[in-house]
């Protein structure tokens, strides 16, 4: 597995760029993924999505469906894709420190 150094932090990532361990997530990782995902500015709305993903993952051990994400943040589907251009499964999960979802994604 590769290592990413960013702002004095070191993260072990898999080949799709997801961190290997949820517990090693921190704010610095979010800033790093922002540079990778082509997101101009991190807003409160990005953080809303990240918080919901992390809460759900801690309880259920899996990423929520985009429907749940929409319900808990109040954002429409289109807006979630505006916040995370590569989508909830790739961009948002990566930023929140979740593992890459399994399946045809």
């Amino acid at each position: 597995m590769a290592t990413v150094e960013f702002e004095g932090n070191s993260f072990t990532v898999d080949e799709d760029g997801f961190i290997d361990n949820f517990t090693s997530w921190n704010n610095s990782w979010v800033k790093y993924v922002k540079t990778q995902e082509g997101i101009d500015e991190l807003t409160k709305e990005h953080w809303d999505v990240i918080n919901v993903l992390q809460d759900y993952y801690k309880k259920n051990g899996i990423a929520p469906m985009v429907r749940i994400l929409s319900k808990l943040t109040g954002f429409k589907l289109k807006h979630i894709y505006e916040l995370f251009p590569s989508g909830p499964g790739k961009g948002a999960c990566k930023m929140a420190g979740l593992p890459k979802p399994t399946g045809c994604v």
Binding site: D14, E15, M65, I68, K76, G89, K100, T102, G103, C104
Partner: protein
């Protein structure tokens, strides 16, 4: 080339790629007892291999014509280890010669070859003078791995989801129905009166999708609903399991679960007394429903007609059920997915849709049934991050092919398959090709006349 000559070439081949670790393979294989391996293999060779396996193995003349057909071989500096015959030689050929007495390390390597170095794309079958189905042979190796419990972790998780929920992404029944209602509500803001009919008996069309659509890409359900409503189709989706037409068990070698999944899918369509199944834009799901599932179930054919989105959209456009008001203006190229083009023959219909919906079309070369696989298919992308780098490096020829299409003007790739999207996205990113990828439904949704849904009177004319 003689058998011995072939082996000599193989022994000097370079190690082109770094070794990847999948602890699921390692841990599972290390638990195996030696007699367990031979017992499983012997049983499968005897019960399931039979004449077909024997014929293929004894017919192959190692002529090497399959090699240049394989994107793994071409992308790895023509290393014979990656040629289709080479992969067969390293796996099932040795398994048969050794009568199943192979080591744990051999099984690990065979598992890696069968799951991550062959997409079951069947391009080599076109070039084999005897038409030997290498994909069948690789599936046979996967079948052995499955029965030994040695399967890459990520794809096995998907297969577990299939077993537990009958869909590939752990979507619960209430979440599925909720997603349909949610997309119905969002779409009603654009098309007043739009419905996504759930569990409506006697509808003409049973529309099925694959797991990633409700899980993350719900806009595809939205777009399909808009198209169905504007075209005035009689359609429904099921509230119960059976809505997911995908089938990763087909790729893990789990034939029993493959058959169960297809049975649930067919029965959902029959329970609602629908006339035909229309499937979303997915390649492997189409193969599993039209060709594989019925055979594993022991049925001669699917119990009702199955139509891929390409055929369906072509029909809607030709019958003028939907009208194109403004063609897509960026130059497009078309990626022919293996399972629906080489396996399903839908290439000309796809080009028919492009002709009606896009201003500029650039063919990539090779194309149609000779197109190179995206290298995500056959479950390779589903084997997950441990193999991403290898997967992308092993498809340099696809990057070259796309770069050529781009130099001829193409900017957008249309790929009517979820796996192809994932695979092509990774290739575009790694090789910095800067192109975008779309489904047909993206294009049609963007170009169609949404303001004049067909009235009941108008529909009667057709």
């Amino acid at each position: 080339m003689s058998y011995w000559g072939f082996r000599k070439v193989m022994s000097v081949s370079a190690k082109a790629l770094p070794k990847v670790l999948d602890d699921s393979i390692d841990k599972a294989a290390d638990r195996l007892a030696a007699d367990q391996i031979s017992a499983v293999i012997e049983r499968l060779l005897y019960n399931e291999g039979g004449a077909r396996l024997k014929t293929y193995m004894e017919t192959c003349a190692h002529c090497g014509l399959c090699s240049d057909a394989c994107h793994h071989y071409l992308s790895n500096n023509k290393d014979p280890k990656f040629s289709p015959a080479g992969k067969v030689r390293q796996t099932i050929d040795l398994i048969i010669r050794k009568k199943g007495n192979v080591s744990i390390e051999f099984i690990k390597r065979a598992c890696e070859i069968a799951f991550t170095e062959c997409n079951l794309c069947r391009r080599c079958v076109l070039y084999c003078p005897f038409g030997i189905d290498v994909a069948y042979l690789m599936i046979f190796v996967r079948r052995i791995c499955h029965q030994l419990g040695v399967v890459p972790k990520f794809i096995q998780d998907t297969a577990h989801s299939h077993s537990a929920t009958f869909n590939q992404m752990w979507v619960k029944e209430d979440e599925w129905i909720d997603t349909l209602f949610w997309q119905e509500e969002e779409a009603r803001e654009e098309i007043p009166g739009l419905r996504i009919p759930v569990d409506q008996e006697c509808a003409e069309i049973f529309y099925s999708v694959i797991g990633p659509e409700p899980k993350f890409r719900a806009q595809l359900i939205y777009q399909a609903a808009v198209i169905m409503n504007v075209a005035g189709m009689s359609w429904t989706m099921t509230a119960k399991p059976g809505w997911d037409s995908s089938n990763m068990c087909m790729y893990t070698g789990d034939h029993e679960m493959t058959a169960r999944l297809k049975k649930v899918h067919f029965e959902a369509a029959l329970r609602l007394k629908t006339k035909r199944i229309v499937m979303g834009e997915c390649g492997h799901a189409f193969r599993s429903v039209t060709d594989v599932g019925n055979r594993y179930l022991g049925w001669k054919a699917p119990p009702l007609p199955v139509v891929h989105a390409i055929e369906f959209y072509h029909e809607l456009i030709s019958n003028k059920r939907i009208n194109i008001v403004q063609k897509f203006d960026k130059p497009v190229t078309f990626h022919d997915p293996c399972n629906i083009v080489r396996g399903g023959g839908l290439h000309e219909l796809a080009r028919g849709i492009i002709d009606k919906t896009c201003e500029h079309f650039v063919e990539m070369h090779p194309n149609r049934e000779h197109n190179y696989c995206c290298n995500a298919g056959g479950g390779i992308i589903n084997c997950g991050p441990p193999y991403t780098s290898k997967r992308v490096r092993s498809n340099r020829v696809k990057a070259d092919q796309l770069r050529d299409a781009k130099s001829w003007g193409a900017r957008t790739i249309i790929a009517p398959c979820h796996n192809c999207h994932g695979g092509l996205e990774d290739i575009i990113k790694f090789y910095q090709l800067d192109m975008d990828i779309k489904f047909f439904s993206d294009i049609i949704y963007g170009c169609m006349d949404k303001n004049h849904p067909l009235t009941t009177e108008a529909i009667k004319k057709y």
